[in-house]
Point group: C2
Chain length 345, copies 2
């Protein structure tokens, strides 16, 4: 018959859309998958809102015996209620693919999601880069989060950092625990005490909370219960700056210290400056009789042209700029290593 | 009193959540902003679903006289119904900020959005990079879209390309028109005839359509009415590849031709190869008496070490790799330009 993935939305059964309710009511069997998101509801409240029984789908059953679910969907209308927007987690995409492979008609009813609700911070959704989940400490180090923060910053993009939870044990990361874990990694180029950060709690719930500031500012704030998430902004439009102040109460100091430059941009500036210094300070060595001062001068000018290119392209064509400045560095270093000029890096 | 932004969701009044309905019913005045998204509804149908009159908000009124709206919200409960998830467009964030500045309590009721519904393609939302809107031809060239495609690809991220519409004239971009505009720009490094592309139409509606393939494959397909959007995938997980085949009917050829390498990665390979060729083919020139063959050889070995670094770091530390290979190129070129070695790039 059919498999329908029905989004519950952000908080509770009242986030179900009329379409979701209608679809759920038309199902022969309803299951709820309640382990990937923190919701303010349970199967009984969902069942009451829909007016049909809803069976909880335990995590293991969902991942290992989705086969049973799909077999049921071969002969009945099966609906699976999922927190947030249904396909945000990869697991549910697998279920959809598997159903399609078995020739079972599928449908997805969409709902509200933290991935777009985060726009309540005033940060543009269009500028979100890769999204990551910070794992609970026992599940591993924050390496992927830190790498992603660096990569998104490289392109001036915001990073949404979702915080891990273990619905079985009831353990979950708070904004405070997450900030401490990120600071403890001591990778200040990715996340340090000056990194502008936005803490968001319970987006779409009755009592959402949004605070922007330095990690220290956020540590001083009590965000109350889950779900929590972090957003680390990239380059900011003036409207986003205003939003962080007005909506998130961001102190001006936290904004001033914020330089969202990525590694390529940092290297262009660093190498460019050291090449400029080298060109200014270099002195011609005693030249071999066959090498003219003119030749060396021409080569230095050649390097300087590449430096100028790098400065010109630094904003719009960063890859070209980094290649140019590094090439210039190579030219200058060859002259130095051959003993034709003297300078120190 | 209050200003509440109420998300309509993806398609029509049935995408309103129970929370949205409840909130709308409690408002003293309701407006609908229907010009930023294509919806399959109108003020009358919204009014019927809510059971209260809904006034359309003309575009000019919304942008220029939001002042009137906010003044009304000072003394009454005002609700503004907005397609998709309410804060996806910057305009609505401005309204929220302005209300907060005037001390008007605000609230946002979230709803379904194309930005997460696009997960129905099977592509991971977590790997979405910057999102862009392709403008209607009379509004300008596709430069920003092309630059964004290149940048996202650089980090292996997917790009959601929203397609512009003009609700006043009724003109809108289709997947076909968008693909033609992107191909016409002749910037194949960003979007060319081999670029793996996914066309999505009417996500969250009763009859969504998802097709993955080459631009040519998509041009051959009739996607029917709006709203349309494009997704250009970045690096793909095997589960995403499977999804594109099973959900989007992607032909294997379209996947084989797909190399989601960004500019930095391309430059590392290109420069690395030309340096390797140079080192292999170079011949020592007749050296000045004061320059020993040993010195030149040492410098070539120095360059080769940087080349090896670049190859080593090519995947994980692309910026360092590009800087290394370009530095090596500078060293080799200095030797060539000084007439100490002979080779051609």
């Amino acid at each position: 018959m059919t498999l329908t993935l029905i989004s519950i939305g952000l908080a509770d059964e009242r986030d179900l859309s009329l379409r979701a309710l209608e679809e759920a009511r038309s199902c022969d069997a309803l299951y709820a998958e309640l382990y990937t998101t923190v919701l303010d509801t349970d199967v009984d409240r969902l069942a009451a809102a829909i007016g049909k029984p809803v069976k909880p789908l335990p995590r293991s059953a969902y991942e290992e015996s989705s086969d049973a679910l799909l077999r049921e969907a071969e002969t009945a209308k099966v609906g699976v209620l999922i927190g947030g927007d249904a396909l945000s987690a990869t697991t549910h995409v697998s279920l959809l693919i598997e159903a399609k492979k078995r020739g079972i008609p599928t449908r997805v009813i969409h709902g509200s999601s933290a991935l777009t609700a985060v726009a309540e911070t005033g940060l543009s959704l269009y500028k979100l880069g890769r999204t990551v989940t910070l794992p609970l400490p026992e599940k591993g180090p924050p390496d992927t989060v830190l790498r992603t923060l660096g990569e998104n910053r490289e392109h001036g993009l915001h990073t949404l950092v979702l915080l891990d939870l273990d619905t079985e044990s009831g353990d979950y990361l708070t904004i405070n625990r997450a900030i401490e874990a990120l600071l403890d990694a001591e990778r200040s180029e990715a996340f340090g005490v000056d990194t502008l950060t936005v803490g968001v709690a319970r987006l779409g719930w009755e009592n959402p909370d949004i605070v922007a500031g330095s990690p220290g500012d956020l540590l001083d704030h009590d965000f109350d219960g889950p779900p929590h998430a972090l957003v680390v902004p990239g380059r900011l439009h003036f409207l986003e700056v205003e939003a962080l102040k007005v909506i998130g109460g961001c102190p001006p100091e936290a904004l001033e210290g914020w330089v969202p430059r990525g590694e390529v941009a940092v290297l262009i500036v660093r190498y460019g400056e050291s090449c400029r210094r080298a060109v200014e300070k270099l002195e011609y060595a005693e030249l071999p009789s066959e090498v003219s001062r003119e030749e060396v001068k021409t080569l230095i000018e050649h390097a300087v042209r590449y430096l100028e290119d790098a400065e010109h392209y630094a904003e719009e064509r960063r890859a070209t700029a980094l290649a140019s400045v590094s090439y210039a560095e190579g030219i200058l270093d060859a002259l130095r290593l051959l003993g034709l000029v003297e300078f120190e890096w």
